[in-house]
């Protein structure tokens, strides 16, 4: 009872009236605030109890809401994880420089030092042709075929990591040109094609997910609105009596807005639950797949902030749906 509310209630404030107004204005503002808050508590509790008393119906509404929320949120999580992959690669974009076959190991080491002094180069790694062959033998599965070769067909290779400031399109372009023109260089390769494709796909997916999210948000609001509409119908008598004894619109709306709020809270919790189960179900296969691609990709669950945001948005949708239903149906319930 000690809480001090920041807002002044305007709904339960009796308007001073010429007739017997003095009787009511004698009660101090503090007392009015207290009773306003205690009415809020009472209505909140009462509407929660009503949902609890019809557990199956409530659970169905919660589940509909939970599924509709979990779907876009799950896809968003997947998308964020994918973007993490491409971001990791982009920052580590490297240029592969294949040297001519005639270049010896010493010359290659010299070239490595030369390239390393360039301002637009951060780091250069030399992959010796014999090391390259050993690795190829290991990973390609062509061990026997390679044994037939007399010579090592692979060239020495330089892995050039551009400096941060040259990691622009123009910077990369000039670096590639300079490297191509260097004596002893056979081919320069910047393989960002698949990354660009991945980026394009994630962007497309991102838009798709947002479009889906908007559609499902509308669906959620409509579902809650319709549920609240039914609640209004079933409590018609109560609404009439409340209006007859002088209940303001705010007073009459309050229980339904709280009902929407509880629907939202329940829906958010169900969504969270569904997401966790799905994540748990997918995590094994995803790890295996990522392992095959030697990627550090992993499906990330919701962060604490994400959980709070999901619940908040869900509550907001529930409230909004209830508000729309109340606006549309409650004001038309008039005694007479």
């Amino acid at each position: 009872m000690a809480t001090k509310p920041p807002l002044t209630p305007n709904s339960s404030n009796p308007r001073p009236s010429a007739s017997r107004g003095a009787k009511r204005s004698r009660s101090p503002v503090r007392q009015l605030l207290e009773s306003y808050l205690s009415h809020h508590r009472k209505v909140a509790k009462d509407s929660a109890r009503r949902l609890w008393r019809a557990p199956v119906a409530s659970l169905m509404t919660w589940t509909v809401m939970g599924v509709a929320l979990a779907l876009p949120v799950g896809l968003l999580l997947l998308l964020t994880s994918l973007q993490g992959v491409s971001a990791g690669w982009e920052s580590a974009a490297r240029v592969t420089v294949y040297l001519e076959e005639s270049v010896t190991a010493d010359q290659a080491a010299g070239l490595r030092l030369d390239v390393g002094t360039r301002a637009d180069v951060a780091e250069v790694e030399l992959i010796d042709k014999s090391a390259a062959l050993a690795e190829f033998r290991q990973t390609s599965g062509l061990k026997e075929a390679l044994d037939y070769l007399n010579d090592n067909p692979l060239p020495h290779t330089l892995l050039v990591t551009p400096s941060d400031e040259s990691r622009t399109e123009a910077g990369m372009q000039s670096l590639v040109t300079a490297l191509t023109d260097t004596r002893g260089v056979a081919q320069v390769q910047v393989d960002l094609g698949w990354l660009q494709r991945l980026n394009a796909i994630t962007e497309l997916l991102g838009r798709g997910v947002w479009a889906l999210a908007v559609l499902l948000a509308v669906a959620v609001i409509l579902v809650i609105g319709n549920t609240i509409r039914l609640a209004i119908e079933s409590r018609r008598d109560e609404i009439l009596v409340a209006k007859l004894v002088g209940g303001t619109d705010a007073f009459v709306r309050r229980p339904f807005l709280y009902t929407g709020l509880w629907f939202g809270l329940g829906g958010g919790i169900v969504a969270l639950f569904l997401l966790q189960i799905t994540l748990w179900y997918l995590s094994g296969p995803v790890e295996r797949l990522a392992g095959l691609y030697r990627s550090n990709f992993s499906l990330n669950g919701l962060s604490f902030e994400g959980v709070i945001a999901l619940i908040t948005v869900s509550i907001l949708f529930g409230w909004l749906g209830a508000w729309l239903a109340v606006k549309r149906h409650l004001d038309s319930v008039e005694p007479g």
Binding site: P9, S12, N13, P14, R15, S17, A18, S19, R20, K23, R24, S27, Q31, L32, E34, S35, Y36, S38, H39, D237, E238, L240, V241, A242, K243, L244, V245, G246, G247, T248, D249, F251, E334, P335, G336
Partner: protein
């Protein structure tokens, strides 16, 4: 307390429910409103509780002109008008206590005061022992008395009743009427719509008679009825 000046109410379908009705009820006055069904009794009451608006004329309750009262002000007017209905409009999903408490909750009465005032109202109608019961468990006369307790719990200056004894036997009806008379004695303006002529005659109060929307008797309090409950 209640004042009608040249009040006419016409509905959309050209049906005229009230024609140029004039009357005035003072504070603490108790009066009956009678006439055949369809004579305009309900319409007249609805104008006072702002369920309808007059087509012409002025309706003044507690010094407030109701004609142009904005919609959002309606609840604050209704808090000063207690209403008893023929079908009593009780809610069967809550106890007698909670039914009677509704007008107090609407105005935000602190919960400790609610208990005290609800019990005072229930005591007044003789149902204090039944506060925890569901109205469905009560007899017709008891239900009507719960309705009366709810109408007066907020101590409104005006009390309206639409056929409050419609479903009750004569003895119960007389009880209810005496209850209304007690309220008028403490300054409440009481207007009761009824077609129970025998009962009205027994009570010997001012009687407004409507016929096809016109007030044909009782527009002015007659001198033979000095007992207005002051």
């Amino acid at each position: 307390m209640i004042e009608f000046e040249q009040v006419t109410k016409r509905y959309d379908d050209d049906h005229t429910a009230l024609r140029q009705v004039n009357f005035r009820l003072e504070r603490g006055e108790m009066a009956f409103l009678t006439g055949h069904s369809g004579a305009g009794k309900s319409t007249l009451l609805k104008l006072i509780m702002l369920m309808e608006r007059p087509s012409a004329g002025r309706v003044i309750v507690g010094g407030q002109l109701l004609n142009k009262m904005p919609r959002r002000q309606i609840p604050y007017i209704r808090r000063h008008v207690g209403v008893v209905f023929q079908n009593h409009q009780l809610l069967f999903d809550r106890t007698v206590f909670d039914n009677v408490a509704m007008p107090l909750e609407v105005v935000g009465t602190p919960s400790r005061d609610i208990g005290r005032r609800v019990r005072a109202a229930l005591d007044k109608v003789g149902l204090l022992s039944k506060e925890r019961m569901n109205p469905m468990q009560l007899s017709g006369g008891e239900q009507q008395r719960v309705g009366i307790a709810r109408a007066v719990v907020n101590k409104p200056p005006v009390l309206l009743a639409d056929e409050p004894t419609g479903n009750l036997d004569p003895a119960l009806s007389a009880d209810i009427m005496h209850l209304f008379a007690q309220f008028s004695q403490v300054g409440v303006t009481v207007l009761i719509a009824s077609h129970d002529i025998a009962l009205i005659n027994d009570m010997n109060r001012r009687t407004l008679t409507l016929n096809e929307g016109q007030l044909i008797a009782g527009a002015v309090p007659s001198d033979q009825e000095p007992d207005h409950g002051y």
